[in-house]
Symmetry: C2
Subunit: 415 residues, 2 copies
């Protein structure tokens, strides 16, 4: 390919910091939940910046906001970048915003250098990736990819009873059906939101796909009784059973790298120091990039739950509440990311996306690639979230080169 364009790391950083003012929290984070007035202001800021570099803006029926830079053959499927600018209630400056500002930086770089591409290039702000105000998460990208029904999604309401459709209308983000077809490829840059790149001292994570996951809720029911008067062999202790489940789940996760297995939420009843617990509610989730291995982990988990119930005389109600298959990314997109990282000499490694992202939804319908950069301590969904300007710049440079490989640069000066 051989393009020599260089993105401007300082300009990228400044855009991130300016965007982070909208919904800035005293602790240095961002509270800019989906389809709020703050989200509307952030969308307007982004739209203005994109128009300044010659883009045409459009909004689709679920509020996805798309900046389009025409290609020489504008009927070709676009090379698409994107992420989201909504945040958690106590979110950080980089989660999502980085991918959008990196896309903007690619547009600015192309514009400043006067580079023309064969395909159009698009940068998308996906509606409500976080799912904090309206559940579920990845709403805009799932509707776009046909994974959620538009009308049902528009009818979803927040805690105050406001529907997605109403909230879209209030900020002027309820648009028209997209006149363009599917893009040729989709690339998303994102902070890792995990500790692996930092621990391994890598600048670029070449994301090979999203792991599959299944979530469970269970209730273990025993018998409440006095902790001082009930002999150990006459107990039905729901907490002891739950502890066995948690321990087993952790062992199952450790036995199947790079899979994860976690209990995050637990409620004990009656939760009094000297009463044997009669009921425990517990969540469990199992993730693995290989769906076959994940199914085996689930089978082991179910057997351990049964064994813990039997050993402690408990009734179990175990329900699977979510199942998402693994989402392997496109080999050509993965290769484009890896090659760009290597070409620039950035330390890189292949990595699985542990969290879900808009890119995972997009990967169901178009060739998709993702670029991770480190964030400090792996901390995210937290006002303390931070990332280094040089890492963010490196990720943006990789994004630019991967996208240009897809869009095909035509200007001789840049070749």
């Amino acid at each position: 390919m051989g393009t020599t364009i260089r993105i401007d790391g300082d300009r990228l950083w400044n855009s991130l910091m300016e965007l982070a003012r909208i919904g800035a929290t005293p602790a240095g984070g961002v509270d800019r939940q989906a389809l709020t007035e703050l989200d509307g202001r952030a969308r307007a800021l982004f739209s203005g910046w994109c128009r300044d570099v010659g883009c045409v803006m459009r909004v689709d029926p679920i509020g996805n906001l798309i900046a389009r830079r025409p290609g020489r053959d504008d009927g070709l499927p676009a090379a698409m970048m994107g992420s989201h600018i909504d945040s958690q209630p106590t979110g950080g400056k980089f989660d999502g915003a980085y991918g959008v500002m990196a896309g903007l930086e690619v547009l600015r770089t192309l514009h400043a250098a006067g580079i023309e591409t064969e395909r159009p290039i698009e940068v998308v702000v996906w509606t409500n990736e976080e799912g904090a105000r309206f559940a579920p998460s990845m709403m805009g990208s799932q509707v776009y990819a046909g994974l959620m029904d538009l009308d049902e999604t528009l009818a979803i309401r927040d805690a105050e009873g406001v529907s997605v459709g109403e909230a879209l209308a209030r900020i002027g983000a309820r648009g028209e059906p997209d006149p363009h077809g599917r893009p040729a490829a989709y690339f998303e840059a994102h902070i890792e939101q995990g500790p692996i790149l930092e621990a391994r001292e890598k600048t670029i994570g070449v994301v090979s796909g999203g792991q599959g996951q299944c979530w469970f809720q269970m209730t273990l029911k025993g018998r409440a009784s006095h902790a001082g008067t009930t002999p150990m062999d006459l107990r039905s202790d729901a907490l002891v059973g739950a502890a066995a489940v948690i321990g087993a789940l952790n062992r199952i996760g450790r036995a199947h790298p790079p899979g994860c297995a976690t209990s995050g939420r637990m409620l004990v009843s009656p939760n009094s120091p000297n009463v044997i617990p009669d009921s425990v509610y517990l969540t469990a989730e199992i993730r693995h990039p290989d769906d076959g291995v994940r199914a085996a982990m689930e089978a082991e988990f179910r057997a351990e739950v049964d064994a813990a119930a039997k050993a402690n005389g408990l009734d179990v109600n175990l329900a699977k509440v979510l199942e998402q298959p693994a989402a392997p990314f496109d080999p050509a997109c993965i290769a484009a990311v890896r090659q760009a990282a290597r070409r620039n000499g950035y330390p890189c490694m292949d990595i699985i996306s542990g969290a879900a992202h808009d890119a995972v939804a997009l990967s169901r319908i178009v060739p998709t690639g993702m670029i991770f950069v480190p964030c400090a301590g792996g901390i995210s969904h937290n006002e303390l979230e931070s990332a280094k300007p040089e890492d963010l710049a490196a990720g943006c440079q990789v994004l630019a080169e991967a996208v240009l490989a897809c869009a095909r640069v035509l200007d001789a000066e840049a070749a």
Copy 2:
């Protein structure tokens, strides 16, 4: 001894049912918390019944209400019975009330038969055994036994800011220092509040003493992170550590019968399904009738806590918040209970008092014995608490004979 007196099981049952009307709840239980107006009404009912059979009533400075039936040698230390008539907010008809009504039934039986004893006989209503309104529990018996300071206890306040002293005065239960010395012995009948007698099909539990206990509170601190992006080997999962502690505590309890070891209360933070928990608060208690064994259990427990913390990269804050040594009862009192049970052909067994009782406080200063009778399913501190009339009558008969063995019957007719 050879006395042939027989208590009247129907009269005992009717007294229990009449007392249970004071504070009766719609669900069939009792809400008659300490030093409330309802407690005052129950005390007045008891006092009237005792005066009807020739007793003199007195109240001590912490409100313990004592019925005294004179002995022929009234200067001798008394043979004392007792329990409590305060209840939990959602208490049952039998917890405490049974021991007091059984003592009353003994007084009535002696009175009806015209039996004279060498020692005086006393039946005590101990103030605030439950500790529901004013903490701690066993307040009256602990002050009586010198285990709590009177003035400090009078200053303890309830949730509305009313002090024990004020509450005593409101119901006319703030009395004078007791003119009599320590009793010769103390006997208390009580429902077991556990499942052992029912499971073993025994009518009488010959209580050999109160087990010792120690209570702990601990906080395990790890690191919150994303359940999908944090590899298993980079986690500090406080819930996995807590689960290991709970499992170990249960194994320690099972390995040292008849000891008990229990975690009853647990709070997980942030308690979100896909966030690795960074903090768990957990209670633990260890009970055993042998203080040496209990100390060994505690040492094992502490080692397991340290091991769980180390294995999961957690910081631990472990505090012992209560320690009570075991309270072995008096061999002669225990023998008197066992002999009375056998004499009547009641199926009986030796049993440890798993819960604390006024008798445990009394045992620190005078020879003490206790009689347990079964309660359905071991359920107590519950409006569903129930016991069979025939078991209650049997326990009362044993109480009568054990007390008379101490008080020495002098009337030839009863000999």
